[in-house]
Amino acid sequence: MILPIVRTAIVALRRDRVSLVLSFFVPIAFFSIFAIIFGGQHNTVPRVKVIVVDEDRSRVSQQLVKGLESDGSMIVFTVPAPTKKQPAPQDYTAATAEAAVKAGDVSVALIVPRGFGDHPISFGPDSDSAKAGPTIELLNDASDSIAPQMVAGLLQKAAMTAMPEAMAEQGMKYTAESIGGFTPDQRKMIDGYLAQLRQLESTRAAGGDSAAHNGLAGGGFISVHARSVVGENKNNPMVSFYAAAIGVMFLLFTASGSAGALLDEAESGTLDRVLSSRIDMTGLLAGKLVFNILLAFTQLTVMFLWAWAVFKLDFFSHIPGFVIMGLSTAFAVAAFGMLLASLCRTRAQLGALSTLFILIMSAIGGSMFPRFLMPAAMQKAGLWTINAWAIDGFTKVFWRDLPVTALWPQVCVLLVIGIVLFAIARKIAQRWEYA
């Protein structure tokens, strides 16, 4: 009795070949994307973009910058990229570097202060006194907790490898051995230094140091002070990111499901009947589009209100940015849903196709995994998705507190995506217009 049921189901599945193909293709495609993202196949660790500002311009600081530049794990910028307005831009300053971190151009900026070359090492007789050397400032975006730790570690590595003469100071110990030992006063002084270092290390291990709170190397060979220039006052750093990321992904599902009403109406004959009235296909699709925009925008609003109520997202001081980004995103996802529905012949096809596209877009576009942690090629690929632009826009609003004028790239791209997708959907929908 079981066999006839199985046989019928197999025959029915074989009839809808698009669904059949997609049911095998979707998991393979999705698996491949995640394999690429996590470097399983290509092993391309994302390189951290770092701005280095050398205010000291000493031989030591220049050696340090060179050391950082030669590290393959980082892309070091000391000068902004030339633009049409500024074909020969000035070197970054502390202020412009901070602005770049705030704008999300880079995750980390290092400010090497004046006088660094005179006291490059973080321990020694002057480490606790007013004569202690200036500290390198590490400016970071709190949404990316990995990049600053990585840069801090690489900074220590660069100090070890790129500043050999500074490290040679430590060679005194070996010198003492080779010359037959220090005098008691000399020994006392050196022991004092070592005690200081041990104390410093034990403090770091206990987590009492403020820099250690950030997980950064405040007690390495080079003294570093980390400061979050974005998101330092946020209650819950990743809430705004995930509200946008997850919101957009489910918006896409809702939009394609809602647009699927077109297929139901085409199958029932309602679409034909509507088109025999005063309403033409453009009007019909536009009506559906507007409904889907309102649906998507309402869904986003509810999601962000939930984030405000439960996760303390600062929603009400970002209303203009939210409305602009919300409507732009809703327009793009609604048009995407219309396009998918117009491409498909059956609900089953729509289900499979929307799952394929939405999961891929969400994976590449950063809805499941932050884009800044992806390999550079995947980050670029993400720019072909609605998710990436929407998440970037919402991040600008809720995370970076940027003014609405800063949203123009995201808004423009989302509007263009919406217009193009809707135009294609309209073209494909001609098949429903007349027989």
């Binding site: 029932s268 004959g269 309602t270 034909d272 009947r273 509507v274 088109l275 005063r278 007349y434």
Partner: protein, 301 residues
């Protein structure tokens, strides 16, 4: 007015050089088996099918034009209504699609609910209505804008006899108002009851078009039909029917006779062939007989 209409779907000719015209207030029946091309013709008049050749005008406007669409009401064969809306909401939606608003829309909705006898179910979701009620609502949605010409494409498909009678009464009420109707069906009784003229459609062509009486007269003149059921070996029955120029339809032998006196000769020949008479009746030929006469096939084939 339909003039030399041709519509092909691939190699299939769905409508093959059809021409017809209607007078105001007339009810024209398109009678033919499934797949004869009736629905394609209706959809072409509604502007939903673009003909490969020919011309269609609705009260002087080309089919599919805004004026033609406003003058036309289309009741498709499918239940083309929104299942998640109530009866009233469905009618309001379709009314708005035709540009009705405010008081006019309310009046039209109320008229339709009354006409379809759905006033007491106006607030019920469509998917919860019975099959007959859904059919009536489907018809009402096509009349919401009070069109001058209504296209009804097999509106009684899948409906029980009681609901079918209710639908007939609704259509007769429209006829009494002087509405022009094109009605497709493959049920002879419906065409006979409702239509002034009947076009018999087969393989995309109109093979006869006239009043019922004229069609019967044209096919059979003054001859009557004898229906005889006889008992005997099938081969002997078939041989007897063939010899007397009759046809077997549903196990009944059918003959046409000019005079009742011919019946005696028919019965004698049956007896001579060793067949026993079970039942015998005489009747005036109907549209089914006309279709059989013209095509050699039964209407329901």
């Amino acid at each position: 007015m339909v003039d030399s209409l041709v519509k092909r779907f691939g190699q299939t000719v769905a409508v093959d050089d059809i021409s017809l015209s209607l007078a105001a207030g007339e009810c024209l029946g398109l009678l033919g088996p499934n797949g004869a091309g009736k629905s394609t013709l209706i959809r072409a008049i509604a502007g939903r099918v673009i003909p490969d050749a020919g011309r269609i005008e609705v009260f002087g406007s080309a089919a599919g034009s805004a004026a033609a669409r406003a003058a036309l009401g289309w009741v498709p064969q499918e239940l083309a209504i929104y299942p998640r809306l109530s009866s009233r909401e469905n009618l309001r939606s379709f009314g708005r699609y035709y540009g009705l608003t405010g008081k006019k829309l309310n009046e039209a909705v109320n008229w339709c609910l009354k006409w379809a006898a759905l006033e007491d179910r106006a607030g019920d979701l469509t998917r919860k209505l019975s099959g007959g009620m859904k059919r009536r609502l489907n018809m009402a949605a096509g009349l919401i804008h009070q069109p001058r010409l209504v296209l009804m494409d097999e509106p009684t498909v899948g409906v029980d006899p009681q609901s079918r009678n209710r639908i007939f009464e609704m259509i007769e009420a429209l006829r009494a108002q002087g509405m022009t109707i094109i009605y497709t069906t493959h049920y002879m009784e419906e065409a006979e009851r409702l239509c002034d003229r009947i076009a018999i459609v087969d393989h995309g062509r109109i093979i006869a078009l006239d009043t019922k009486e004229a069609l019967v007269t044209s096919a059979f003149a003054s001859r009557s039909q004898v229906l005889a059921r006889v008992d005997g070996p099938p081969a002997a029955v078939e041989a007897w029917v063939a010899k007397r120029g009759g046809r077997m339809v549903d196990g009944t032998a059918q003959f046409t006779v000019e005079h009742p006196a011919e019946i005696a000769a028919l019965l004698d020949s049956a007896e001579a062939a060793g067949l026993a008479l079970v039942d015998l009746s005489l009747r005036r030929p109907n549209l089914e007989s006309v279709f059989l006469h013209l095509t050699g096939r039964e209407l329901r084939d």
